[in-house]
Symmetry: C2
Subunit: 195 residues, 2 copies
């Protein structure tokens, strides 16, 4: 019992879609079962609990993000390249796992302890990875002297917001989005001017 990789993946995918559309609390096990054409009780042949669906999604996504940022910071690049690569990776992970990404960003608050604290740890670790990049840029004298924590959070928020408007059939590819966002993060709105 409690095995079944294939059916479980289906359940997970459907739960991610519904959690994204309606939120975790507003999605009932009956909703999930209904979308799969099965009875609510049958779900429990595959999963332990409703929160299991949430935590699996949150931690799977966290792992993807952490792997990506470590890769960026391990390979030597200058800070500008690091930003470019980190944003590209982040956008790629978001856009190729849209449902799960939204759950990761929005619904993690509904995790109960100890998952809740564990998740925040991973999240902070990722944030630290971004901060490290900003730090590199400052110490290389390539970036302005900014509050590193502040900058990291601002970068993350603008990248994460993508999931609110990105549509796979829209007129911007993930690659284009990443490029535009990188440019914004690096140079802002203002036109270069000779002072």
């Amino acid at each position: 019992m409690l095995t079944g990789t294939q059916r479980k993946e289906e359940i997970l995918a459907v739960s991610q879609r519904l959690f994204r559309e309606q939120g975790y609390d507003s999605t009932s096990m009956r909703d999930i079962a209904g979308a799969l054409g099965m009875e609510p009780a049958s779900l429990y042949s595959h999963i332990k609990s409703k929160e299991d669906l949430l935590s699996q999604t949150c931690f799977d996504m966290a792992e993807k993000f952490l792997l990506a940022i470590d890769e960026v910071n391990d390979i030597y690049f200058d800070a500008e390249q690091k930003v470019k690569m980190a944003v590209a990776n982040h956008v790629d992970i978001l856009t190729s796992n849209l449902d799960a990404a939204v759950v990761f960003i929005r619904e993690w608050r509904h995790l109960s302890e100890p998952s809740f604290s564990e998740f925040i740890k991973l999240r902070n670790k990722y944030e630290e990875g971004i901060r490290e990049i900003v730090e590199t840029g400052i110490s290389e004298n390539k970036f302005n002297e900014v509050d590193k924590k502040f900058a990291a959070l601002t970068i993350l928020s603008s990248v994460n917001w993508i999931v609110e408007w990105y549509r796979p059939d829209g007129d911007k590819t993930p690659k284009e989005i990443a490029e535009e966002l990188t440019r914004f993060i690096l140079t802002g709105l203002k036109k270069d001017s000779i002072l």
Copy 2:
């Protein structure tokens, strides 16, 4: 019946705090009543429904933001000053109504029709106000040629994210936050360099 401005304000404030801490769905009328030292049924002497608490908060905040952006766009400033003022106003509204602001940003999805659609309209109107500022800058040849919608969303996301980490007793005043954020939006991370 259903009057009582003072007690109603208390109920509203408590509901905003709880909606912020636990989310709309996870907050029960019993939670709200309990925090006020009263019985759940007594709430209904003051309010019509649970959703009333949510919609009142969402629309009150929307009005504040819309008033602020209209003010900025009415008064003539150059684009850079407009950005500065819009960000300052936005940060001010957020930080002086933290609980309500978080509800406004996070929980509006739980509005039901027709409030839901009505809210989105107001939200788009505000977004358009920001877009207008970007447009001004571009046509004045002060801002880079960027996708206006994209830029507006990116600005809004970074400003809104403040509520996730701002603490009234922290080491940054709202004014400082607004200044730092404005600088980031205008010039980005990269140090000015003579090419």
